[in-house]
């Protein structure tokens, strides 16, 4: 099928900020789809991105790589990315990898949109 975004990647535009609702899992199996969804968002010109982890229960290093790649791409272009809605498991994985200090992480979507605007 041609739906490379997968079933769970809703993108909402709020005042120039692209808010991405992430899937329940971000792992080896679907990381390429998540990456492709972000790539097309950046190709469409998004420079302020909120990644909302509210529905995400599980992430592995394959998922971390996606966020690092998106962050690098945005930083090259004076863009911003803000992460929000992390559950304890996801927050732990980001912490262990030392990613928490690379990203702006806030509690919820409202705060994230404000920080990205």
């Amino acid at each position: 099928m041609s739906d490379r975004k997968g079933p769970d990647m809703d993108v909402e535009l709020t005042g120039g900020v692209a808010v991405v609702a992430l899937p329940q899992r971000i792992d080896t199996q679907n990381a390429p789809d998540v990456q492709a969804a972000f790539d097309s968002l950046l190709e469409d010109g998004a420079r302020a991105v909120v990644a909302d982890f509210q529905a995400t229960e599980y992430i592995s290093s394959a998922g971390l790589r996606v966020f690092l790649a998106v962050l690098k791409a945005l930083q090259k272009d004076d863009g911003r990315m803000v992460l929000c809605g992390m559950k304890p498991f996801v927050a732990d994985v980001f912490d262990i990898a030392g990613f928490t200090q690379l990203f702006t992480v806030v509690a919820d979507r409202e705060a994230a949109v404000a920080a990205a605007s």
Binding site: T28, Q29, Y58, S61, L68, L71, Q75, F89, L102
Partner: protein, 149 residues
Amino acid sequence: MTGIQDGGVAGAPGARSERRFEAARGQIPAVVAFVEAAAEAWGMHRRRRMQLQLALEEAVVNICEYAYERPPGEIVVTVEPSSRRFAVELVDEGVPFDPLAVDEPDLRSEAAERPIGGLGILLVRRVLDEVTYRRDGTRNILRLVIGRR
């Protein structure tokens, strides 16, 4: 207390079991499902099961990437529950490869300098209570252990 036998009570160790998988990324959900069922029967909490799942995914991805010069080979997964600990052994017959000998990435560098990768084994080390590697003849044996808490 009377001397009730070990078997049958909640949190009883359960039996050792073994299954073979193709060493391919697409097999990760099947490996996870096999180990999860045993971990759940052993009484492992959900949070620890997710950590074990993470370690399994990272370890299997490593084997798929490095072990076999002509993929796909095989991974034999053995689950060894005991009263105190839950161990999983991943055995492959690929080239000798000790994932624990790989340097950890520098976690203090800026995003632009971060290499994409090198994080999997770091996660394995941090979420488990014990992880060991040994080479036994033609086999790489990676042992993942979670203790009873």
